[in-house]
Amino acid sequence: MRYTRVVLVIAAFTLSLAARALGQRGAGPQAPVFEPAAVERGKNTFFVNCGFCHGANARGGDGGPDLIRSVLVVDDEKGKELGDFLKLGRPDKGMPSFAKLVPEQISDIATFLHSEIYLASNRRTYEIGDILVGDANAGEVFFNGAGKCRSCHSATGDLKGIGTKYDPVTLQGRIVMPRGQRGGEDGGRSGTPEPQGAVSTVTVTFPSGQSYSGALVRVTDFDVTLRDSSGGIRSFTRNGDSPKVEIKDPLQAHIDMLSKYKDADIHNLTAYLVTLK
């Protein structure tokens, strides 16, 4: 957990650098930067001085409010408002003064609290827990039976070693979203790349009988574009049913399964696939 958070902070820092390099063009506000050592020091200082009332995770405890949702903390700038507040405390509500804390300690506590607020409010940092709750044997039965996985895949062929190639969450994503995880909260920017063999193919046939085939690049009601075996692009205008356009999506079976899965099927299948070493 601790290690992951440090990695996240480093990731946030890298993102912020990237945003600066882009001159914020289209990037929105910059990701904040939290020095990992300061976060760690602040966490310890917080635990010793504040944790008893506000909880070790600052979400509130015996008598002390949740500080992740505290307007005073959220609005604090680098410990300044927090430091002013801690000098006096809130005696009317039973909170003593913390004037004994030196400025470096207050700065560290502020860094810790602001990083916790960032982690709570930035869903891209959320860590998915243990998803391996399924029954691998039931998953194997599903793989060979109702899931029809075996009509395209083989546990000893194309899927051999899949359990070591991907972590469980990515693997589960491959089952329900084989094209790579587009959509979701980040529009797929963190998604996995398109796997080989996942591209739709198209055949365009004219009334004369002449036809063209290749990888589908684009299709609308008015045009269709393909990449042929030479790697070149060919585009055609469409007028109703002419020319005839036939598209084959090799992943259609995955799409068709979405309305058929029970959640247990997905859990079991994931549990089975991680065993394919």
Binding site: G28, P29, V133, G184, D221, L251, S259
Partner: protein, 539 residues
Amino acid sequence: MTITKHLRAVVLILAPLGVFGQKGLDPSALLEPPIDTWPTYHGDYSGRHYSPLKQIHSANVKNMSLAWIYRSNFGSAGAIVGGEGADEYVGGSIKAIPLMVNGVLYFSTPDNAFAVDARTGREIWHYFWKTKGGIHIGNRGMGMYGNWLFFETPDNYLVSLDATTGKERWHKLIADVKQEYFSTPAPLIIRNHVIVGMGGDSLDVPAWLESRDPETGEIQWKWNVTPRPGEPGSETWPDAYSMEHGGGMPWQPPTYDPDLNLLYVPTGNPNPVMAGQSRNGDNLWTASIVALNPDTGKMVWYFQCSPHDTHDWDATQVPILFNGVMNGRQRKLLAQVSRNGFFFVLDRTNGQNLLSKPYLESANWYKGIDAKGQPIRDPEKDPQVAGILVSPGSSGATNWQAPSFNPDTGLIYVGTSQSYAMFYLTDTDAHPQGYGAAERGAGNAGNFLRAIDYKTGNLVWKRATTVGAQGLLSTAGNLLFGSDGAGNFIAFDPKNGKPLWHASLPMNPSNAPQTYMLDGRQYVVVGAGDSLYSFYLQQ
């Protein structure tokens, strides 16, 4: 004498006195169907996105061609610069629907506002706002009162500009950006009220709608989306703390019935967004449609679209107002094609539910419909640590983009997505925070432009698209304007969805088109990416 007539009389008396900002938009224009103006985000108060114009019609639309293109320049260069912050954000796309008043188009994007000549597409002025931050996801555009313009910024200011010059009159703080509020709505003007909403889902903050004085910017009233302890609705929350942090952001421009004097506000999802364990209950008035008195901010009725939502399905889709026959009676109706995959029709005089019907075949999260017409959620489809597969994903069966109601066909047109997503509960604490869950997009069983019969909720036709939610406009010229998601701006036959005309743009349209008459010619204007595209019939 109806209230509308009263209003017009008041307007006629007051207008010459200059209380509406000397010139500019005659407020009575807001009470009429949009013809030679497009005076508000929705075109009129009804939210129908329907124009009575028919110079361009289904038989001649094949001759429609480009009038002009305006490419906006986001950023401070050459602009009138304002703002409280130090940062210059440059980016975004035109998610506004431009106003058109007296031959000038007015629209905004995050941190930018523009006036453009509606005849020529040439820029008249550009205002730029230096930001303190906030999520720069979009801006729906401006509101206009006399000669004063109003728009909201991502760092939560209401900014008022002089429409003639683009110079700032004042700006007022709406909410605190550090608490993760950000503001996207187009303000709605009702008489001397500027109706202002906001957004922000990330830090479990309270939501409200407010009304401000168009001259001074001072607050006239606030309506809290979640109740306070002891108030009606508080029984749908476990405690005061969960209400205070319950969210429900009203970020869609509302609609309004002048005769009933009711403002229809669709509200956002509750907080924490996807982890519901600290807010057991229905969580009123989140994910609801509420009717408010716009003079007092008092609630008159409500209908909840998603009791205890756990999938980020705010009900902030347009409440569409029209009159029609339901259950054998002529009624004043309100229809919403909601983000959770349900189509609702209400009696807008009292909120009575007349029809609730799922329109998304793939929706798998509900067990039925209760006696009030509200969907009954299946708790097994709440986010779980190990993940559950839900349709639609959090971006919804549809979203904020404007649908269209066409009184000539009796059909509601809407862009939809049969998306799926895995929802993983990540915060198992008794008091989770923020979203509390992670989402990973799954496959999609198909995006469609759909035509829905309001009387039955039945699908009349659908057409495959590569985009789900999309902005739409229908006209008395027997036309429906929309897109296919692949960059084609299309005029469809509203009766059957057949394309009658199209133009391929560099970017797909980013919200609904609008239309107006100017010098005897009908223009159709649509925003796509950083540009406005204007079309008319060649003469």
